[in-house]
Amino acid sequence: MKKILIVDDQIEVRELVQVTLEIGDYEILSAQNGQQALEIAQAEHPDLILLDIMMPGSIDGLEVCRRLKSNLATADIIVVVLSAKGQEIDIAIGKQVGADAYFTKPFSPIALIEKIEAVIDMK
């Protein structure tokens, strides 16, 4: 059973992703800010993180990704960005900090599952 961590400051989005993924064989964890996301990632070592970018606090999604990828203990975790910022430059920055995939909001729940599975298979 794969472990997926959902990171988003908006409760509606966290719930939406959770509901979307509950039909699959996943263990779902969730965090509402960057700090929390890092702590859970360290402790639980999920297989994949669905990461929002624009979050309140000093650690945004990009910083979370950067830290995960620069830490040997967490570098192997698949990071998938899920952001409302969908311009080319945003995607490029996401790739630059080490994200494995970049999905934009709004999204289709059905398509999201397929994409996540594809990313996991690729790895």
Partner: protein
């Protein structure tokens, strides 16, 4: 020359005369030979014998004229043949020195070198006696005198028969024949006579030989001298020819002049070139030395020539340049170089006069050209200076930051605009390089491409981000133009920085807005799309269905709110969207209505309203006013923590006919930086904080709404301490307020009374600072500002008013005793609307105030 020729002719003549003499001398001998009959004596036989001998001796003696040969003949014919003696000495006598020397000697029949006999002076010996007495001596005594040397020393004491015969030529005794026998013999007197005759003949022969030798020597010498003369003459001729050739081959005029002690001058030599140089005949200069200085030398230069003459007279060499006036009136320049040599009491001057007209012409031309060039340079310098000053003024005035660097990029010049742009002073910038502004925002290849372009002599233009001294960034369009030499090689560069930061900021704000707006729109859309798809594709229980539908509904509302904001802003900006601004509105009612909604949705916050029981109504648009309070309360709620208090307070300021509203929260507050951007469109205090949603348009919209109601809005905040938003609205029927800032009390009172009579309400202030405070808090409609104020000057007050968003729109009329145009211009430039020169009539003041207010009103409603 002619002297030499004469001398030679004379010499030849002399030689001829000498030869005649020689011939004459030879004549007696011929006579002698012919007149031998005189010797006839006693026996004809003897006589014949003697005559024969005499003849033979004569023949022998005349056969030669060479002296040694004559001597030898005398010995052979007389001594050997006639006397047969073994010893013989031919003594010669030099009459001038009275010396006897040996001419020929024979010892024991052998001829010996006569030079072995030392000459002896005339003495008492038989030789000397013979010379003195001119008589033949026959002796038989020991031999003495020069002849004694014929004999060996040991035999000289023995008596020897000897005969001494004088050689007489003319009247002189020229020598003695001394003959010594070794055997005793007897000489007879007759023999003596005969010997005398023979001796006379011999003497003549000797004399002749001697003469001839002399003549030959003389002739030879003469010949040598003549040859030498010829040689010298030839050399002289050659030298003179060469000299003339040299003279003729140079165009200079050469002169040799003697200056006597008395100062008289004599031209010893003048080269023919004097003719071609002056155009006057040579003879005129030779005839009168004064012709040159008095006629030919240019009158203006005679002083210089006189000075040279004086120098020469003192024995100093001299070189002078002066002009000559030629016979054809043409003026030429010459250089007269003279050397002087003292010869006895006079001085000889050797001079060369060279035509330097061409050189002078070149010199003059060069001098003229130099002058001309200097003039041109001066003019050019002046023009450059003027142009530089002009350019300087332009460079000082332009808004673009301009630097000039050398080839290496070292800054040589900058204009004031650059100082303002970069924040670095001129001293800090000069000698530095443009790297000092580098922000690190451009890549190395960007700069490499830039350098490649400008080093190739081409202009580079591009946009880049630079950094100021204070660390802030600014955007510029940079144009770098190389200053090139004629070959196109860059000598330096001119860089012009055009500050595009405001445009860039606007651009950034817009693009930030678009991306923020997109984000804000996508966030609710995410829920709407996601949950609706879940609802459509999954079997869900009733509770979850309802829950998801509620999400969808809420997010749809949020979407609508954003859409509304955008529309409001665009309408307000366009000056549209206001309806019924004259309807009296009860703000309290509106506030309560808005708060109802907030309390419904935000259970965590406490909303407190305070103020009078009823609020004075204001005229306005109730919908927009409701939007204003929604915005203010929304911000207060968003930026304060759960459980925080949000207080809304209303206060009537009856003194100034204002309604003062404040919204205070206990939230995160704002930094001064955030506060300064408070009313910027699209600005959000913390854009990355999506927990606090919003479009960044709320405050912009609020400000526009307040302004439309002729009110003011400002914010007080301290980071971490919460924020208070102040809103001032004028109450209906509020008369126009005029703030008077005037330190002269009498004038202030007069203005106040007269304006109050006109229906204005007056806010008096006697200094700048209290005036500024009143301007910010009392919402004056117009300000009367005196320029000559204590502490803070009128211009300073004006600057403060125009730099504050609360007061910058209030019309200002300057009142001042200063009437200089530059003062008025300065005030208008700083933003004053009108300028009244004291003293002025109060009626005039009212008219001006009304005019200013009308104009402002028109602008506001437009």
């Amino acid at each position: 020359m002619s002297n030499y020729r004469k001398t030679k002719a004379q010499l030849i003549k002399e030689l001829e005369q000498l030869q005649q003499k020689v011939t004459a001398l030879e004549a007696p001998q011929q006579q002698l030979e012919q007149g031998s009959l005189l010797l006839l004596e006693y026996s004809p036989e003897k006589c014949q014998q003697k005559l024969l001998a005499l003849h033979e001796v004569g023949c022998a003696l005349t056969s030669t004229l060479a002296i040694p040969e004559v001597y030898r003949v005398i010995y052979r014919e007389i001594v050997q043949r006639l006397l047969n003696a073994p010893y013989f000495l031919l003594a010669m006598f030099d009459e001038a020195t009275e010396t006897i020397f040996c001419g020929f000697a024979v010892i024991q029949n052998e001829e010996v070198n006569p030079e072995q006999f030392e000459p002896v002076p005339l003495g008492e010996d038989p030789l000397s006696e013979t010379i003195v007495s001119r008589q033949v001596h026959i002796l038989n005594l020991p031999v003495t005198g020069l002849s004694a040397h014929l004999l060996p020393a040991e035999e000289r004491w023995q008596p020897r028969p000897a005969i001494y015969i004088p050689l007489i030529s003319g009247n002189s005794v020229i020598g003695v024949l001394s003959v010594i026998h070794s055997q005793p013999v007897a000489f007879r007197n007759v023999d003596m006579d005969f010997l005398s005759l023979v001796a006379r003949q011999a003497a003549t022969a000797v004399t002749n030989a001697q003469l001839l030798t002399k003549v030959q020597h003389y002739a030879k010498d003469l010949e040598a001298r003549v040859t030498e003369r010829h040689r010298v003459e030839e050399a002289l001729r050659e030298s003179e020819q060469r000299f003339r050739l040299v003279i003729s081959s140079i165009s200079d005029h050469i002169y040799v002049t003697e200056v006597t002690k008395e100062g008289r001058r004599i031209n010893l030599y003048l080269s023919p070139h004097v003719e071609s140089m002056t155009g006057y005949p040579w003879e005129r200069f030779m005839a009168d030395w004064r012709f040159w200085p008095s006629t030919v030398i240019h009158p203006d230069d005679r002083a210089a020539a006189d000075a040279q003459a004086a120098q020469l007279l003192q024995g100093h060499n001299s070189e002078v340049e002066y002009r000559l006036v030629r016979a054809d009136s043409k003026v030429i320049w010459v250089r007269d170089s003279a050397r002087v040599q003292t010869e006895g009491s006079s001085k000889i001057t050797y001079g060369v006069v060279s035509d330097i007209t061409e050189r002078k012409r070149v010199e003059l031309e060069r001098a003229w050209l130099t002058n001309e060039l200097r003039d041109v340079n001066q003019t050019l310098d002046e023009r450059v200076r003027a142009r530089t000053a002009e350019l300087q003024a332009i460079l000082d005035a332009v808004g673009e930051g301009i630097v000039v660097t050398d080839r290496a990029g070292v800054i040589q010049y900058l204009n004031p605009a650059l100082e303002r742009l970069t924040g670095y002073s001129e001293e800090e910038t000069l000698g530095g390089t443009p790297r000092m502004w580098s922000s690190g925002r451009q890549s190395a290849s960007f700069y490499a491409q830039m350098w490649q372009t400008i080093l190739a002599g081409q202009t580079w233009r591009g946009e880049l981000v630079n950094q100021r001294k204070d660390g802030t960034f600014y955007d510029v369009v940079l144009t770098i133009t190389p200053i090139t030499d004629p070959g196109g090689k860059p000598l330096g560069f001119v860089g012009a920085q055009h500050d595009i930061t405001p445009f860039k900021q606007m651009d950034r704000l817009k693009s930030d807005f678009i991306s923020t707006a997109a984000h804000e729109l996508r966030t609710p859309l995410t829920s709407i799309q996601g949950f609706s798809e879940i609802l459509l594709t999954r079997q869900l229980d009733e509770e979850r269905r309802k829950r998801f539908l509620t999400f969808i509904n809420q997010q749809a509302e949020a979407l609508a709110a954003i859409t509304d904001d955008l529309l409001s802003l665009s309408k307000l900006e366009a000056g549209k969207g206001f309806e019924a601004t004259d309807i009296p509105v009860d703000l309290k009612e509106i506030v309560e209505e808005v708060l109802f909604g907030f309390r419904e949705h935000n259970h965590q916050h406490h909303y407190v309203v305070s103020g009078p029981a009823s609020w004075p109504r204001i005229k306005g648009d109730p919908v927009k006013l409701a939007q204003l309070f929604k915005n203010l309360l929304s911000n207060a709620t968003k930026y304060s923590p759960d459980g925080g208090h949000v207080m809304l307070r209303a206060e009537t300021e009856t003194t100034y006919d204002l309604l003062h509203l404040t919204v205070t929260d206990q939230g995160i507050g704002m930094t001064p930086e955030q506060l300064s951007h408070m009313f910027d469109r699209f600005y959000r205090a913390d854009a990355s904080n999506t927990a606090i949603g919003g479009t960044g348009l709320g405050m912009s919209i609020s400000q526009l709404i307040v302004k439309k109601h002729r009110g003011k809005i400002w914010v007080e905040s301290e980071y971490g301490q919460g924020t208070t938003v102040h809103v001032l609205f004028p109450l209906p029927g509020r008369p126009p307020y005029v703030l008077i800032i005037e330190d002269e009390e009498g004038l202030r009172r007069l203005q106040q009374i007269s304006l109050e009579l006109e229906g204005f309400t007056v806010l008096p202030a006697e200094k700048g600072q209290p005036g500024l405070e009143l301007a910010q808090t009392c919402l004056p409609d117009l300000i009367l500002l005196d320029l000559n104020l204590p502490e803070m000057s009128g211009f300073s007050v004006l600057d403060n008013l125009k730099n504050n968003h609360l007061t910058k729109d209030i019309p200002i009329i300057i009142t001042s005793a200063l009437d200089q145009p530059e003062e008025i211009e300065k005030a208008i430039e700083k933003g004053a609307d009108d300028y009244l020169v004291k003293p002025y009539g109060m009626g005039d003041l009212a008219i001006r105030i009304n005019r200013a207010l009308t104009e402002t009103k028109r602008e506001t409603s437009a």
